[in-house]
């Protein structure tokens, strides 16, 4: 097991390095001048541009730039010179001249928002999707199953932003079921209640679509597993149906869910762009979108890298978790 984990860790590191290089190459060879972008879309003062070019190191050879970037990740980095010296401590992901801020700080502000959004949503959709999926499988063909089918149909066909708007209009504005999520995002440590209150609708919006997918998946996985020979063996031993379901069927049926959930969670952390926009949450998705709109290159590079990083790490976690669940994967 230890050998397996360390081998997977080494591979993950290699992948991250490759991805970062690839991202760097792509952006280095895009057909616009990164220095010209530093002062916004319509700025064409050659003085500022050339100064920024030097400050940001865009005048250096490509490999030096990449090396400085990597070095900045571990040791921090300074931009510019003299009085205008800007210091972004490690891990430095660069400096945005448009926002006049170290990219790391910008991400540091946005990440907790996205994380809060993702964690709440995943808890909701796992509870809903797994619960409903199991019920639908257990009572196949009965009313619960039929209701779940309708839910799956709606959930998978409604686009997220529409779900969000509908929830907003009906649940909040029409029916006053929950008070209007007033104010801005509040960090959990400041006020957990407000945190949850503001995020509740976004959670529901995100969870809705995923829960539908998961219901469908769990239902078919449970049904497939309950047709396995080893479930028949369990029944032949004289186990009760509830033990068979709880101990034998679910263990095997839910194993693939771990993989799915891990990757979906990673995807959300990369930025739930639509949901964040609909609910006006200052998360990673919004940061990335506004950077794209404004050609704020350092932020684009950093968010892309971060998304890749999250996917790779989640993959690693999921694989280790899976090896723990399924002994056949445990290659010594």
């Amino acid at each position: 097991m230890f050998a397996y984990i360390s081998r997977r860790l080494a591979v993950s590191l290699l992948i991250l390095l490759t991805v970062s290089f690839a991202v760097y190459v792509i952006f280095a060879f895009l057909p616009f001048d990164p220095a010209a972008l530093t002062c916004g879309k319509n700025c064409n003062d050659p003085g500022i541009i050339e100064a920024n070019r030097r400050r940001l190191g865009y005048d250096l050879p490509f490999f030096t730039q990449y090396f400085l970037f990597l070095k900045g990740l571990f040791f921090g980095r300074t931009f510019g010179e003299g009085a205008a010296l800007i210091n972004c401590p490690a891990p430095s992901l660069g400096y945005s001249f448009q926002q006049h801020a170290c990219v790391t700080n910008l991400i540091g502000e946005a990440l907790p928002v996205t994380f809060s959004l993702a964690i709440g949503a995943i808890v909701m959709w796992l509870a809903l999707g797994i619960g409903l999926g199991i019920l639908a499988a257990r009572f196949r063909g009965r009313i619960v199953d039929q209701l779940s089918t309708i839910f799956v149909l709606i959930g998978t066909s409604l686009p997220t932003f529409l779900t969000g708007l509908l929830l907003m209009v009906f649940v909040v504005i029409r029916w006053h079921l929950i008070p209007f999520p007033s104010g801005n995002y509040t960090p959990f440590i400041e006020n957990p209640f407000e945190w949850a209150q503001i995020l509740f609708l976004p959670w529901l919006t995100l969870a809705f679509a995923y829960a539908a997918l998961y219901t469908r998946f769990v239902r078919s996985s449970v049904i497939d597993t309950s047709n396995e020979d080893y479930i028949r063996t369990a029944r032949a031993k004289g186990l009760s149906e509830s033990v068979i379901l709880g101990k034998h069927t679910l263990r095997a049926a839910l194993a693939p869910i771990a993989t799915m959930a891990g990757l979906d969670f990673a995807g959300l952390l990369g930025g739930a762009i639509l949901t964040e926009s609909v609910f006006n949450l200052p998360g990673l998705g919004r940061l990335a979108i506004s950077a794209v709109v404004k050609y704020d290159l350092p932020i684009i590079v950093a968010t892309t890298l971060l998304a890749a990083f999250i996917v790779v790490i989640m993959n690693l976690i999921v694989d280790i978790l899976y090896a723990y669940i399924d002994p056949r994967v445990r290659v010594a």
Partner: protein
């Protein structure tokens, strides 16, 4: 004394294409220590018969009728009259079952020790240590070396033959009076098949256990069975003691079956005598004797009789029964 007496067992599956009479009006009995083999083509109802006795056919999908009187630890019971929850007590304790495919019959996520211990724990209110010792004892009995450490292995770490041994150990953990073995060696190589069949017969003698052996291998039947039921299209068509059946098969299907097996103990003759045609569709059984479209001996009793009436399973003396108009009442 009889251990199990099955009478008029019927199992029907309603399907969109029509009613599948998988098992029709089947009666047989088995004494303690006896081996009853059930042979027949694929789809003839061998597995369904035994799943019905174990209560393993989902009631939603099938109609099961008939009776099965069984001498359990707590006295005589009717396995088919009981509700499923009560039946659970006997499954795995008084009667156990092993299946064809040892690769897929064990749960891949649990150690074999845990799986055997679980089978013991359900029926015995004892400390888990007692169950563990029992598991080790049984694994040793079925010939798994280093059982004390191997109980921590997962099924995928075992070969097919060893997994079948584990299945046998698990089935025997509560000393069942009846073991149902559904094609226990079909998925295994001949050399491993020989090991498993020997193991089963040794254990059976030692534990005085009755066994229902489902197989389509006429060689395995000859070596292991005391009595044989031949099934065709959901019905028993012949039932006899094993020597009688091989020496004097009475029903044309049994005769054809025995004649069509290539035999290593004879010079390899030019042609096998094959039974013509295909097994019938269970949804549209032929009228009259189910075997009549393939039967070469119809003319002996008149084809029209065979094509319009279903013969009964009648006695031919010496505990030999056959379902055929030929030789009936002779």
């Amino acid at each position: 004394m009889t251990l199990l007496k099955v009478e008029n067992l019927c199992v029907d599956f309603p399907t969109p294409d029509g009613l599948v009479a998988a098992v029709h009006d089947t009666s047989f009995e088995i004494s303690p220590g006896e081996t009853l083999a059930i042979v027949g083509e694929s789809g003839s109802g061998k597995t369904v018969t035994n799943l019905a006795l174990m209560g393993l056919i989902p009631l939603r999908t099938a109609n099961v009728t008939g009776s099965a009187k069984f001498e359990s630890h707590d006295g005589p019971v009717d396995l088919l009259a009981m509700n499923r929850n009560d039946l659970r007590k006997y499954r795995g304790r008084d009667m156990a079952m092993i299946f064809q495919d040892p690769m897929s019959s064990l749960h891949p996520f649990y150690t074999i020790g845990d799986q055997i211990i679980e089978a013991h724990q359900i029926h015995n209110k004892v400390d888990i240590k007692v169950s563990r010792d029992r598991a080790i004892e049984l694994l040793e009995m079925v010939g798994i070396q280093g059982a004390a450490t191997r109980i921590k292995s997962f099924p995928h770490q075992f070969s097919g033959g060893m997994r079948q041994r584990v299945m046998i150990a698990m089935a025997l953990v509560n000393n069942p009076a009846l073991l149902i073995a559904d094609e226990p060696t079909t998925a295994l190589d001949v050399t491993v098949q020989a090991q498993i069949m020997k193991l089963l017969s040794d254990l059976q003698k030692e534990l005085k256990m009755a066994m229902i052996l489902i197989t389509h291998d006429m060689g395995v039947v000859a070596g292991a069975a005391d009595r044989v039921n031949v099934m065709y299209a959901g019905r028993i068509v012949e039932s006899a003691n094993v020597r009688d059946l091989y020496a004097n098969p009475l029903m044309p299907y049994t005769q054809g079956l025995l004649a069509s097996v290539p035999r290593m103990d004879r010079p390899h003759t030019e042609r096998l005598s094959a039974i013509p045609g295909q097994p019938p569709s269970m949804i549209a059984l032929p009228t009259g004797c189910s075997f009549n479209p393939r039967c070469g001996r119809k003319s002996e009793v008149g084809a029209s009789k065979c094509e319009s009436q279903m013969p009964d399973l009648t006695t031919r003396g010496n505990q030999h029964f056959a379902r055929c108009f030929i030789g009936e009442g002779a």
